[in-house]
């Protein structure tokens, strides 16, 4: 039968998750999703920066074909009128919906998240998104700043909430509408955190006492790193708390204790994000659609946490390009779900953390540009053809082959069988 698609994309999330082996992080809801999914350990973005990566995986074309390496062009005008993955689902009878940050806002998505081409209804953006970079972080002096490290009292925030909380509420509302209307849907939910500023409910700091936070294993600029390869992390330098440190350009370094504060807040922001994903997946159970919905969980690129003396993305290092990528496919990655069965009960990161393992794991090196063809194949749609060498004139083709072929040959199973 027709499968729905819930596509969750997270901004600047590197695979710092329990299901990727991180021992410190509390991510029970994403780990629970992984326990029902195939998890790709070596998935990479085509470019470690928001708009180019998102336009690439949403069109199934590489940056050299979208010709977007910055934020300032719209592929349909600038390169070619390429169909997008949601557009393809829409043309195949799906209601396609966008909540939060799926396309990068602005020029690169025609100031419309590519609506109406990609989406059935105008994309939802949280009303509090506009305060993201305002002075809402309380300093030690009690004043408000636009900091990088920004644990907050949510009740004090403009509108008394945060963008990702609003996105989850809207996504849950849409799930109920789709259920009531018995419509098959492609719902894309784009979460903002842990993109900077690291602004999250301050209670999540309790999960990561600063004493438990170390520096990166290699916090120095490698001796033989070509200078062209180095990313001088300009965006975080503009934040009030980093500016006040007066760090030298381009190599810094940031003071050790502040490096640990950044890492601490990146982890706290992930646990906050995990609760939002948990509420969303719990709602999928509530509307009884967990057995009929493919769930994809990924990110647009990673983020350097001090490795190689770098912060943020903007480089070709693995820490900046590698992303979490997992697919939950009822009846494929797990046995079919019986009516009323709960697959994703909400798990509290402050509670007891179960140690869950992915249902399947593949170590194959795969790419986000393959998402379009992979999801088409999983949903039973015709897979777009491979693009010719030059494809600016071709509306629908893909430069990333489907990776469904790796679902069954996941190394874990092969190893288990080998070990007998």
């Amino acid at each position: 039968d027709d499968m729905n698609v819930l596509f969750i994309v997270v901004d600047d999330l590197r695979p710092v998750l329990g299901c990727y082996g991180d021992k410190l992080v509390k991510s029970p809801n994403i780990d629970q999703l992984a326990s029902q999914s195939i998890v790709f350990s070596n998935a990479y973005a085509q470019q470690a920066v928001c708009a180019p990566s998102r336009v690439s995986f949403l069109t199934g074309r590489r940056p050299d074909t979208t010709r977007l390496y910055d934020f300032y062009s719209y592929w349909r005008v600038h390169a070619g009128n390429y169909s997008t993955m949601p557009q393809y689902f829409k043309e195949n009878g799906y209601v396609t919906l966008s909540v939060g940050k799926v396309f990068h806002p602005g020029v690169s998505s025609n100031y419309s998240d590519d609506y109406p081409y990609s989406w059935s209804t105008p994309p939802f953006h949280p009303s509090t998104e506009k305060y993201e970079n305002d002075k809402t972080c309380r300093g030690k002096d009690g004043k408000l700043y636009a900091n990088l490290v920004c644990p907050v009292d949510v009740t004090e925030m403009p509108g008394g909430t945060l963008p990702d909380i609003q996105s989850t509420e809207e996504a849950i509302r849409l799930l109920n509408v789709m259920k009531a209307n018995k419509q098959k849907f492609f719902l894309a939910v784009g979460y903002h955190k842990p993109h900077i500023p690291l602004r999250y409910p301050q209670e999540f700091l309790k999960l990561y006492p600063l004493d438990n936070i170390t520096l990166a294993p290699d916090p120095w600029v490698p001796e033989k790193l070509p200078s062209v390869a180095y990313n001088p992390w300009m965006d975080i330098r503009q934040r009030d708390d980093v500016k006040a440190l007066n760090v030298s350009f381009p190599y810094g370094p940031l003071p050790d204790d502040f490096q640990r504060q950044i890492r601490q807040s990146y982890y706290a922001a992930i646990s906050y994000l995990d609760t939002q994903v948990g509420l969303l997946l719990n709602a999928l159970d509530d509307v009884g659609l967990s057995g009929r919905t493919i769930v994809v969980f990924t990110a647009d690129h990673g983020w350097s946490l001090g490795e190689h003396g770098e912060w943020a993305k903007y480089s070709n290092f693995d820490v900046a390009t590698r992303v979490p990528l997992m697919f939950y496919v009822p009846g494929v990655t797990t046995s079919s779900v019986s009516q009323g069965e709960r697959v994703f009960p909400y798990r509290d990161p402050f509670g007891h953390i179960l140690s869950l393992v992915p249902k399947g794991r593949s170590k194959k090196a795969v790419e986000l540009v393959s998402l379009f063809s992979t999801l088409a194949e999983l949903a039973g749609l015709q897979v777009p053809p491979t693009c010719p060498q030059t494809s600016f004139h071709v509306a629908r083709c893909t430069e990333g082959a489907s990776i469904v072929r790796y679902f069954n040959a996941s190394e874990e199973k092969v190893e288990e069988e080998k070990n007998g």
Binding site: R62, Y69, P222, Y314
Partner: protein, 101 residues
């Protein structure tokens, strides 16, 4: 097998890239506008290595000149998983260069 993903029994390859305005870090190195891009770093990854060449790039016609290599990186996953020891200049990398082309 010459397609991006090779034969089933051949390790698949993941390609990434990143633009730069100059050979040394400057204020717009992180996010150069298209018109300011002068170099493109093309990376090729498998589960065994990451090979990157930083080559001359021409924004006016979106072309890259792989004969004008500004710098290179090569890291072997097994011996250097954190990519701290660039062995590009210590090894012959003709094989990688041919493969990335």
């Amino acid at each position: 097998c010459d397609d991006t993903y090779g034969c089933f029994n051949e390790e698949p390859v993941a390609f990434s890239q990143y633009p730069r305005p100059a050979d040394t870090p400057q204020w717009n190195s992180d996010k150069p506008k298209l018109k300011d891009i002068r170099i493109m770093g093309y990376s090729m990854r498998t589960i065994d290595y990451r090979y990157t060449v930083w080559v001359r790039f021409y924004p006016n016609n979106f072309s890259a000149n792989f004969e004008d290599v500004h710098a290179g990186e090569l890291y072997m996953v097994e011996t250097d998983p954190n990519q701290d020891y660039n062995i590009y200049n210590n090894t012959s990398h003709g094989f990688f260069f041919k493969k990335i082309l």
